[in-house]
Structures are given as structure tokens and as C-alpha cells.
Amino acid sequence: MRALCWEGVNDLRVQTVPDPEIVNPHDVILRITMSTTCGSDLHFIDGYVPSMVPGDVIGHEFMGIVEDVGPEVKKVKKGDRVVVPSFVACGDCWYCQHDLYSLCDNTNPNAELQAPLLGYPTGACFGYTHAFGGYAGSHAQYMRVPHADVGCFHVPDGLRDEQVLFLSDAAPTGYMGADFCDIKPGDIVAVWGCGGVGLMAQQSAFLLGAERVIAIDRFPERLKMAREHIGSETINYAETPDVLAILQEMTGGRGPDACIDAVGMEAHGTGPGYLYDKALQTLRLVTDRGQALRQAIMAVRKGGTLSILGVYGVMDKFPVGVIMNKGLTVRTAQQHGQHYLPRLLEHAVKGELDPSYLATHRFSLEDGPRAYDMFKNKEDGIVRAVFTP
């Protein structure tokens, strides 16, 4: 089959690779119908996170049609159209049974590599680094999906592929971020970042009952999307000297009840410990993102919630004293997609959630390297590049 492979820093190539096979009894083979780029891919493409191996097939946000099923698969049949969360979960361990799917104990074949970095290993993520499992990803014609009964969600008839694709990753991540905010009537939620995850977090905040949503970004076309597709109020931080003061004025001096950090990152794939290895790059990353996170910590009202979807490494100058004195609640995770998918599909069927506007650019798989180049450099107002293999 054809697949988009990471061959080195800033070196992606489309290659012919062996077809995936059923290896374990709960596997299915999926024929990919749609797959999309994610901001967290950029970190290993740029060489900021280690444990990629040349030849790795990338991509972790996808949907497809079941082509083959393992002997123990019960709920999924050949021919089913399904969407799959990017983190692989077994459904049987303590974490899965407590709806903490991305923390699954049983899906990371390289758990022993990751444990020293995080203390305890997480579940695996498709198409990502070897510390996160090393499973081949979705920018390919076919893909092996382990624990298919837990990971594959049937797509209701009447929903188009591009309405469902982002329910694999961006939507559940954003929804989880809003869910963490425990939104009550009258609440105002501020979201840093208007990429796929940030936009989904804003929309989810409204779905969960927020009175107002305020979006902060620097790309005019993304802010426009937040206003037009979601109804968020927007702040372009590149044009205003003091975001904090503006937020305070917009909220009667109280501050937003919850602040969601979805800056620059699409919220999963890289773990904190990784960044030790590339100190210089880490500093660069942390400097950028640290500003948004610190701003969010300052902006949120006393006793409010800070929900972190962005990825952080060894951040210095983390203002824990502000968090403590203001009595903030901090919540964060890689996405627990298996927990949110049923709810998200329901919203999609009712017409309350249609993320298809994120698919600003379409490519064939063969154009993968060019697509990532555009995505990385934010050319032509691109929000997400979508591949139809």
C-alpha cells in the first residue's frame, strides 16, 4: 500500500510499504477513507520530540471502512463505516473502566520506554512516536486498529465523512477541555487558540451551556472562523497590548470562569518528559506556550478552572503560587475519546456539531509532504489538510 512516512527531520515521503495484517485477535484492518493533519504532528516533523524512527507511518486523526476483522472482534463487522479515537484503549484495565482511556495500561507496546519519562506509561497513540507505542498511522490506504470493539464507533447514515473525521481527535479533545470546566449557567469561558482543537473547545463550551465564549489567537482568518461558525467573541493578541485587561473589561472585572489552553498544539502525542532530551528546542517551545498558559492563569477568576489541552514540557517559571492563592482547579489530559465519541456523534446527528468547516484544504495522499509544508507554514489560511487516500 501507499503511506506517508517520516524519514527524518522535515523529511516526509510517500512510500510503498507492506499492507497491515491482523496480528492480535481484537484487531481490525481499516480501509482509510479520510485522514487529517494535526498540530501535534509538527513537533516530531520538526524534530522537537524524539523516538521517531525513519520509515514510521504517521497520522492519527482518521475514519474508514472495516476491511477485515480478527477472530475475537464482536461489535464491528466487515463493511462498517467507523471513526476511531487517536489513543488506543483496551477497555478492560482499571483506567479504561474509569473512563480515563488515554491512560490505558494495556495498549502501549513500548510502555517500558515511556515509563521512565512520565513515571508511569500512558496508552498508545496511532502514528506517533515510539514512546507512544509506535503503531503505524492513518496517512495510508490501510491501517491496523487494535481493540477494535473499544475504539471503532459506527458512523450513523446521513453524516458525510468530513462531518465525522474530526470526531477522531480534535472534537473529543476540545469537548473534554470544555467538560473539564464544569460549566454552569452564566459562565464565561475563554479559549486560547483557534486551531482545530481550540475551535472545538469553543463550540463544546457553548454545547455544554456557556453564556459567552471568548477566543484568543493571532491569525485573523481563524478568529473569523471562531466568530462566524461558533459565535465566539474574539481577541487578536497580536493587535492588542494587554489581553488580560481586555478580558477583565469584557467580564465586569471578574475574569472568565474557566480558561482553556489550546495553544499551538492539538493536545496530544507528546508527553512532558520527552522534552528533556532536546533542551534548546524545549526552551523555544516552552517560551511560546508559557506565555499563553501564564496569561490564562492570570486571567481566570478566583476559584475558577484552568483546563489545559496544550502540550507542555519542563516549563520553568510556572506560577504555582498564583494557582494556589486564587484557589484554581487545574484539569488536563490527553483525549479520552472513547468516553466522548457517543455524545459527539449524538450532537452531530442532531445537527448541533458539524466540524466539517475545519477541512479547509484537500489533498491526495501522494501530496502529503506538500500538504504538511502548507499546514506547518499556515499558508493560504489552512486550518486542516485532509487526505483522501
Partner: protein, 223 residues
């Protein structure tokens, strides 16, 4: 590699057994690391390689009989009795350890281990169960005459709440060189023990072991 092994093995009858023991471990770890291509495995391969290198560079006769030990624990969502039963069940041990060794269970209490190392060689030893307390503990040790004396024990005890059981694996090697013992105290035995426990847990909890076998990649691909 084959020549290096042969040369090393041919040196001096007295240290022959000791040297072979270290070479087995070093080579096995190297093989293990190289097979699982990834950055942590690279560390594993390097450690294995370092072990080999140190042994090859070491002059015969300076070995100290230091031991190397490791203890790792994992919590598994099953009762201690169930876990003991799984561990005792035929075929379970060979599957859990197949990433490291080929194990043939000769009878209920004995197993034959074979580890393949680079250069086409393989090394073997037999283990015997020496303590068996159902639902609580199982311990084993290698039979006399092996190149790599080792013993181990697995202990099961109830975990609090709905968490199942706490399972502790204790491994004890007698590598023949002081340098080897030092190296063994690091990452490698911890990784081996941790992998074994995780593989056991996954098999028991999910009925399968996560794997990258036959994982598509562009590593051997033609563009």
C-alpha cells in the same frame, strides 16, 4: 560478532563459564534491543553492547561473584488466586516471555529456556519451581551447571478497593563479572522485568499482548 564471541569463548578454561554467562546476557540484550527498533531499545542495545564490550575487553580472572537483583511491581485487575492460576497454566509463561526467550515447559515445575544471541548462537538453561504457595507465591531457580545462574519469584497479594492484585516480580542473576553486575543493576534487568510483568498483565486483562509485529513502515520500503 561471531568471531568475537568465538575468540572470547576460547580464552582460558577457568573463566570460560563466567565469560560466557556475561556474553549471553549482553548478546541477548543487544539482540532484544536491535529487534525492537526504537529509542529506548537503542538504550537497551547500547547497554547490551556495553556489557559485551566490557566482557570482551576484560582480562580473564578478575571476576567477582557479585549478584544483580531487580524488583518490579504491577497491579493487575484480577484476584490473586486467578493470577496464580494463569501463571501456573500451561503455555502462559512461554507467551509472556517470548520477546526474550523461547521457553519449553518440560513438566509442571520445569522449563527449558533458550535465548538467541547475535552470531547465530543460542544459549539454554533449565529452571525448576522451588517454592509453590497457591494464590500467594511462586519461586524458581536455574538448575546447577548453567552459564547464567538465576532465580526469581513472583508474589501475589490483594490490592485495595477494586484494583485487583499487586504482583511483584523479583529477579536475581549471578553474572560472572563485577562490571557485568554493575551494568545489570541498571536499566536492563528493570526493563526485562517490567516488560514481563506488563505482558503478563495485558494477556490476563485483555487476552492479548500489545505488539508491533508486522507493523507497516517505510524502513524496508521501495519508494
Amino acid at each position: 560478532m561471531a568471531d568475537a564471541l568465538k575468540g572470547a569463548l576460547g580464552a582460558g578454561e577457568a573463566s570460560r563459564e563466567q565469560r560466557r554467562g556475561t556474553l549471553i546476557l549482553g548478546g541477548a540484550l543487544l539482540a532484544l534491543g536491535l529487534r525492537r527498533v526504537s529509542f529506548g531499545s537503542a538504550a537497551l542495545a547500547l547497554t547490551g553492547g556495553a556489557l559485551l564490550y566490557r566482557e570482551l575487553a576484560r582480562r580473564p580472572g578478575q571476576a567477582g561473584a557479585k549478584t544483580s537483583e531487580v524488583t518490579r511491581s504491577v497491579t493487575i485487575g484480577r484476584s490473586a488466586d486467578e493470577l496464580y492460576g494463569f501463571r501456573r497454566g500451561a503455555g502462559h509463561l512461554p507467551r509472556v516471555m517470548e520477546h526474550f526467550a523461547v521457553i519449553t515447559e518440560t513438566d509442571q515445575d520445569r522449563a527449558h529456556w533458550t535465548v538467541h544471541v547475535p552470531g547465530g548462537r543460542s544459549f539454554s538453561w533449565d529452571t525448576q519451581i522451588v517454592d509453590d504457595r497457591p494464590g500467594e507465591l511462586l519461586s524458581w531457580q536455574s538448575l546447577p551447571g548453567t552459564e547464567l545462574p538465576n532465580r526469581g519469584e513472583v508474589r501475589f497479594r490483594p490490592a485495595p478497593g477494586d484494583r485487583g492484585s499487586e504482583v511483584t516480580l523479583h529477579l536475581h542473576f549471578q553474572p560472572p563479572g563485577a562490571a557485568a553486575a554493575k551494568a545489570l543493576n541498571g536499566l536492563v534487568p528493570r526493563t526485562l522485568a517490567g516488560d514481563a510483568l506488563r505482558r503478563f498483565k495485558s494477556l490476563v486483562e485483555t487476552g492479548e499482548i500489545p505488539t508491533l509485529d508486522r507493523n507497516p513502515s517505510g524502513r524496508a520500503a521501495t519508494a
